[in-house]
Each structure stands twice: as structure tokens, then as C-alpha cells.
Amino acid sequence: MANLSMTVNGKAVTANVDPRTLLVQFLRENLRLTGTHVGCDTSQCGACVVHLDGKAVKSCTTLALSCEGASVTTIEGLANGGALHPMQEAFREHHGLQCGFCTPGMIMAAVDIVNRRGNSLDEKTIREDLEGNICRCTGYHNIVKAIASGAEAMGKGAAPARQAAE
């Protein structure tokens, strides 16, 4: 067992963990933050994407101990109290989810795309940068629309305008 301390969604956390503990296990099992999902568990599907020191990573392929001293943001850390994050709101508005299993990873990846590429994203860029996230409902069309809209809304610092989902 080894001591571990990091910041998760702005709060300092400490624990004593088996070195084998993956970041995703630590988040789900120790902290009970079950919004981060385990899909393929082989670093393909992206359901487990969280931000580690501001960068999207696959938490199923990262040891918790490697995150000692780091700052981690999960899907639970995006919303501001009762108000959804603009990217979450955009997924809701554009029906960017079907079963919802991939959604936390999609949204964390989407915010990472905005962080890297700014608020004006074309479809090609979004589709290319979603390479590491798989939706087995194959609902990519609305996911891509949601990300473009959410990216814009993040730039305005407001929720996206209400639009009917197609």
C-alpha cells in the first residue's frame, strides 16, 4: 500500500492505495465518483476520459499513484452548482447522447478540444479529435453538433441558445 494525495474537482483527497490501483478505480471505488465510466478497459473507447492537470487522459490506463500531487477533473466537476457546464447543456440541447454511457468521456474530450483548439470548431476538426471516443449507439452526428455549439457557448461564457434537437 502507498499513500496518495491529489486534488479532485477542486478538493484535496488523500488515500492509502494498492499500487495497482488505476486512476479510474480510485475515482469510482474510493471516491465514489461513478460518472467516469469503464468501457473497454483497454484504452480504446474513451468512456474513462478525465482531465489530468488540464489534459484529457484515459483514466483506465493511468496509475492512481502516477497522479500524486496532480489536479484531476471529472464529469462531476464541470457543473457549477445547479447550472450545467455549457458543454453539458449543449449535449442536452442537441440530444448528443442515446444510451449515455460514452457521454462523460465525450464531454470531457469535448472540453479538451476547446481548450486546445479554441471556440470555433469545424466538423472535420471535431470528428478527427473524437478519434479516442467511441459511441456504440453510433450517435456521432448529434455529438458533433453538440460540441460545435458547446464550444461556442464556452466562448461566450453562457449556456447555448435553446434549439430543438433534430
Binding site: 499500487p19 484515459k58 493511468t62 502516477s66 500524486e68
Partner: protein
């Protein structure tokens, strides 16, 4: 995963000493090959020495005619680096096409090179550009470094510190990706340094990355995609699997080589 002890040294020197002291220790770089392998119980090191806090293994610098990249520099950092984009744009392009964005935030050049996966991208760049792998013990030219499937010239306890790339006058990389894994089904890196031409092929060879002398000869006469017209690589010694048979991969070598030259000469469409 089987149990292991975990260590996170702050310098390459400390890492080397841990590697020597701990029984059955392995180095952890970005972990995107080692951790999945351990999860499948195909590897079971007794100790992991995590290099992620070794600041002396990170960074990108232009040193005279060389571009020097620290072993723990991530693919995302190489792809986004203005130094790399200016000195060897093909290398930034290569790094930007490894895996996916999340993988590129973790995966490192040192990890990729040390693992020498026969379908990895970096080995082709190192071989074609005539790079030097600098370890904590010595300097190894790329052609001596890569010795076979997942095999390198690294000794027990040896740690890659950095990779030094001579800046080429022209370079290009093209790969045909496995759509699921994004590994190279076939990847070809071409480089022109003075009158020297190098063509290195990854993803295709039974023994890992290799050079294609016939293509180098015709490109030496004229460095243009057209020079490769009609030139075919033999299917002998080429990998075949469920994704592509040897004939198909051999054909792709020619196609990717042409695209790489087109990129290097600014004629990519």
C-alpha cells in the same frame, strides 16, 4: 495486474539506481503499452519505476544542426512544438497522428522507441533521419538501436535520456492506419539530408522497422514522387495478418512512400 511496488524518482540518475536495486524492475513512461500488457497479465514486473517526475528527461531544444527531444516528452508536446514544426515538420506531423488525443497526452517518444513495436511510428522517423538515441550510458545510432521485433540494443538498467535528430533538408511521413488501433498498417518516413536519401518502413517488416534501398536509389537520382513509379516492394519478409496480407502491405509500402515524398517536396494534395 499482479502486485508490484511503485517508485517515482525525481531524476534519471535516481531512476537508474532504483532500476539496479529493485528486483525485476521495469521503467514506466507514458504507460500506454506497459499498463495494458500488465492488465492482461502478459507482463508482471516486481517494481515499476515511474519516470514521469524526472524533469531531466523532458523538453525539446534545437542544438545547432540537431533537434533534441527528451525521452519523456509526450507525443502531444512534440506535435505542438514550434521548434519541431520549424526544424522537422514531418516529425510533428508524425507525432500528431499517433493514437488519439488522449493517448498523445500520455505516450512518450522514449517509451515508443524503447518498446520498438513493429507498427509504431517513431522508429521509422529515427531510422530515416539518422537519429541518435542517447542513454544514461552511451549514444546509439538508430540503425544499431532497433534490433528486431520489440528488441533494441538497450542493456539491462539502461535508460533512454533523449533522442537527437539531425535536421533534414526535406522529410515526409505517410501512414496507412489500422482504423481501430491507429497503429501503422504501413508507415513510410523519407528524409533527404544533403545528397543522402533514407526511406524507412514501419508496420510491414517481419523484423520491425527497415530501410528500402531500391527506393532510396531512385530517389537519389531525382527526389520526386514520380521516381517511385513502377517500383514495387517484394512481399517476402513482409507481415501478413487479419488486417492485411503480405501482398497488400507490400503494395502499400510503394503507395505510402510516394505520399511521403509528395509531403516532403510540398506536393501533397
Amino acid at each position: 495486474m499482479y502486485a508490484f511496488t511503485y517508485h517515482r524518482p525525481a531524476t534519471a540518475r535516481q531512476a537508474a539506481s532504483l532500476l539496479a536495486k529493485k528486483e525485476d524492475a521495469k521503467l514506466l513512461a507514458g504507460g500506454h503499452t506497459l499498463l495494458p500488457t500488465m492488465k492482461q497479465r502478459l507482463a508482471s514486473p516486481g517494481a515499476l519505476v515511474d519516470l514521469s517526475s524526472c524533469a531531466d528527461l523532458k523538453g525539446i531544444a534545437r542544438k545547432g544542426r540537431n533537434l533534441v527531444i527528451g525521452a519523456m516528452t509526450t507525443h502531444a508536446e512534440v506535435a505542438a512544438s514550434p521548434e519541431v514544426q520549424e526544424a522537422i515538420p514531418a516529425l510533428a506531423y508524425l507525432a500528431s497522428h499517433i493514437g488519439d488525443p488522449h493517448v498523445r497526452h500520455r505516450g512518450t517518444i522514449g517509451g515508443s522507441v524503447a518498446n520498438n513495436d513493429p507498427a509504431a511510428d517513431y522508429p521509422a522517423a529515427l531510422l530515416a533521419l539518422g537519429a541518435t538515441v542517447v542513454t544514461n550510458k552511451r549514444k546509439l545510432p538508430a540503425e544499431e538501436f532497433f534490433s528486431g521485433l520489440y528488441e533494441t540494443a538497450l542493456d539491462e538498467g539502461e535508460i533512454i535520456v533523449k533522442v537527437s535528430f539531425p535536421v533534414a533538408s526535406k522529410a515526409g511521413y505517410a501512414k496507412f492506419r489500422n482504423p481501430a488501433s491507429r497503429y501503422a498498417l504501413v508507415g513510410v518516413f523519407v528524409a533527404k539530408r544533403g545528397s543522402e536519401i533514407a526511406v524507412a518502413v514501419t508496420g510491414a517488416g517481419e523484423g520491425g522497422v527497415f530501410r528500402w534501398p531500391e527506393a532510396e536509389a531512385v530517389l537519389k537520382a531525382r527526389f520526386a514522387p514520380k521516381s517511385l513509379d513502377g517500383l514495387k516492394h517484394t512481399a517476402k519478409g513482409i507481415n501478413g495478418d487479419i488486417h492485411a496480407d503480405a501482398e497488400y502491405r507490400a503494395h502499400l509500402i510503394g503507395v505510402m512512400a510516394k505520399q511521403a515524398v509528395a509531403q516532403a517536396t510540398g506536393k501533397a494534395g
